[in-house]
Amino acid sequence: MSQELRLTREDVERVARLAHLGLTDEEKEHLQRDLSLILEAFDRLREVLTEGVEPTTHLVPQESVLRPDTVRPSLPQGQVLANAPETRDGFFRVPRILEES
């Protein structure tokens, strides 16, 4: 079946890896089919002539919503750290993150 699909299983695994998602074999198969169908739907949209048309990035007819550069109160440190699994001296503490290759 995978011959007709737009995405390979490897594509799905790669996207899952980038999104830090752990997928079961069943889910991968399911997503391979679903995502391929979505891409096919977009293929159909691509047939519409859009030359000279501004890309629609937002559906609200609004632009340039700005705020003045004024400082407002932040949260107390205790509240900031309240949900952290591990803290030390006011910092969030996480496992070391850099691997030398």
Partner: protein, 493 residues
């Protein structure tokens, strides 16, 4: 591999191709998308709120001042400003990024196609600016242990997360680590002139990553590049790029291929270390930020900001050379800080002698100036104070040596030049008969040098000059003393 040889990067028939990505924190009061303060050095995690922590249900609102600063930076770097620019999400997982995406710009950055001209020993070089865009700063990671590598745990402070940044991307137009340094210095000067950033590398308000590759001299193709990160000073940039160029040259000469990878500069060991292979890590799955509507700027708005820009360093340098007749070098020292340049111009105008003002500002004034992170932040005297002193010097009331010591006292006590001169009796002796008496006495007391001079060894005149100055306690008018000595001893000139 040997430590980088800073002074002698010799790549033989290869040349380096370098492009920089510079991140500069904008000097706004509040963050880019929320009202948290941006003050440097606050206790960890005390300047954060639900927005910059990326908590569910929050929405970013763009800081108007950050937009103004970013556009002004773009204009000062000669860029075109995008009238309708967009924000995008750059997705990656890293503990310094609470939302797991950074709000940045991808397509349609705020500024494009600029250039900065740098002065190198080989002449002027134009370094292209590909883009300048607005984005939010990430949090700060503090690694336990001595270096980023080999640390046990990482501590995260999100005070910095959400501070507005501009990312400035150059074209691969730089040809040596030294040119990279010159570019960064010029960039820093420009950004300080327009007042959009403190640009302090040691506080992290300017950070620089570099892409570097080698190619045979004369070739126009690009070789495989590596990206070098973690350079924390201009010196580190030069050292890291020098090391990396030498490393790549060795790889190429040994017949191997340079691997495309990201490398970290290890300051302690003075080497670059491979961090990760590039391909996969660079897939950021950008998409337009749905929470921020397009930023639309009218030409009127943009031109209004352009009109607010001060005269930029390069233009000011040229003007100093053209209208004050200063040497290039002097002009570039004086214009390296807006504060110093303004001070010099005011003094020059007040005194009516640009060369004199330039010598004194560059020498004595800068010697006593207060600097922070290589930037002059406070001058030791007022414009009127220095002008008064130089006025006395020009009128011949005091001589050069006395003027220097008066300035020193002005700096220490904050008192005026005239007052100090009067109190210490430093007025120069210009009265002819008084000087004649001094000169005659020195001639009478030094028969041997006088004989030498009469025999043609005119060098000894300097010695006699010194004696007269000593006798007068430094107050004799040196030019008149010289003339009198020549006259008395029958020496020409």
């Amino acid at each position: 591999m040997a430590e980088a040889q800073l002074e002698m990067l010799d790549l033989g028939d290869l040349e380096a191709v370098i492009g920089l990505e510079v991140h500069v924190e904008l000097a706004t009061q509040s963050k880019l998308f929320c009202g948290c303060a941006t003050t440097f050095g606050a206790p960890p995690n005390t300047q954060v709120c639900p927005v910059c922590l990326g908590l569910p249900g929050t929405l970013p609102v763009l800081n108007a001042r950050a937009v103004e600063y970013a556009v002004k930076a773009g204009l000062a770097l000669g860029c075109q400003i995008t009238e309708r620019s967009l924000f995008a999400r750059k997705n990656y997982f890293y503990p310094d990024l609470p939302k797991a995406y950074q709000i940045s710009q991808h397509e349609r950055p705020l500024c494009r196609n600029g250039a900065v001209t740098i002065t190198t020993p080989e002449g002027l070089r134009r370094i292209g600016i590909v883009r300048v865009h607005l984005e939010e700063e990430a949090g700060k990671l503090v690694h336990s242990g001595d270096s980023i590598i080999g640390s046990e745990a990482t501590h995260v402070d999100y005070n910095r997360a959400g501070i507005p940044l501009i990312e400035i991307v150059t074209a691969p137009d730089l040809r040596s680590p030294e040119e990279a340094r010159l570019f960064l210095e010029e960039l820093r000067t420009i950004l300080r002139y327009i007042g959009v950033s403190d640009v302090r590398m040691e506080e992290g308000s300017l950070r620089c990553d570099a892409n570097i590759s080698l190619r045979p001299k004369g070739s126009t193709a690009l070789g495989t590049k590596t990206e070098v990160k973690n350079m924390n000073s201009f010196r580190a940039v030069v050292r890291a790029l020098t090391y990396e160029a030498q490393r790549q040259a060795e790889v190429i000469r040994s017949g191997e291929a340079v691997r495309p990878e990201t490398r970290a500069w290890d300051e302690a060991r003075q080497v670059t270390v491979a961090m990760r292979a590039k391909e996969e890590a660079d897939d950021y799955r950008y998409f337009t930020e749905p929470d921020l509507v397009p930023l639309v700027l009218t030409q009127e708005r943009i031109e209004g900001w352009r009109a607010e820009l001060p005269e930029l360093p390069a233009a000011r340098r040229e003007r100093f050379v053209a209208s004050y007749g200063l040497p290039e070098y002097d002009a570039s020292v004086l214009t390296s800080s807006r504060l110093v340049a303004d001070f010099f111009e005011a003094v020059a105008q007040e005194v009516g002698d640009a060369k004199l003002a330039s010598n004194w500002v560059m020498g004595e004034v800068l010697r006593w100036a207060k600097t922070e992170g290589g930037e002059v932040v406070e001058l030791p005297v007022s414009v009127q104070g220095l002008a008064e002193l130089l006025g006395l010097l020009r009128q011949g009331v005091i001589n050069q040596a006395a003027a220097k010591s008066v300035l020193e006292e002005m700096v220490a006590s904050g008192r005026g030049a005239r007052e100090i001169v009067a109190e210490r009796g430093l007025e120069q002796i210009s009265d002819r008969s008084e000087l004649e008496a001094l000169v005659d006495r020195v001639i009478a007391e030094n028969p041997k040098p006088v004989e030498d001079i009469r025999a043609g060894q005119t060098k000894a005149i300097g010695f006699l000059m010194g004696q007269v100055m000593r006798l007068s306690q430094g107050k004799a008018n040196p030019q008149q003393v010289r003339e009198l000595l020549h006259e008395r001893l029958g020496v020409g000139g």
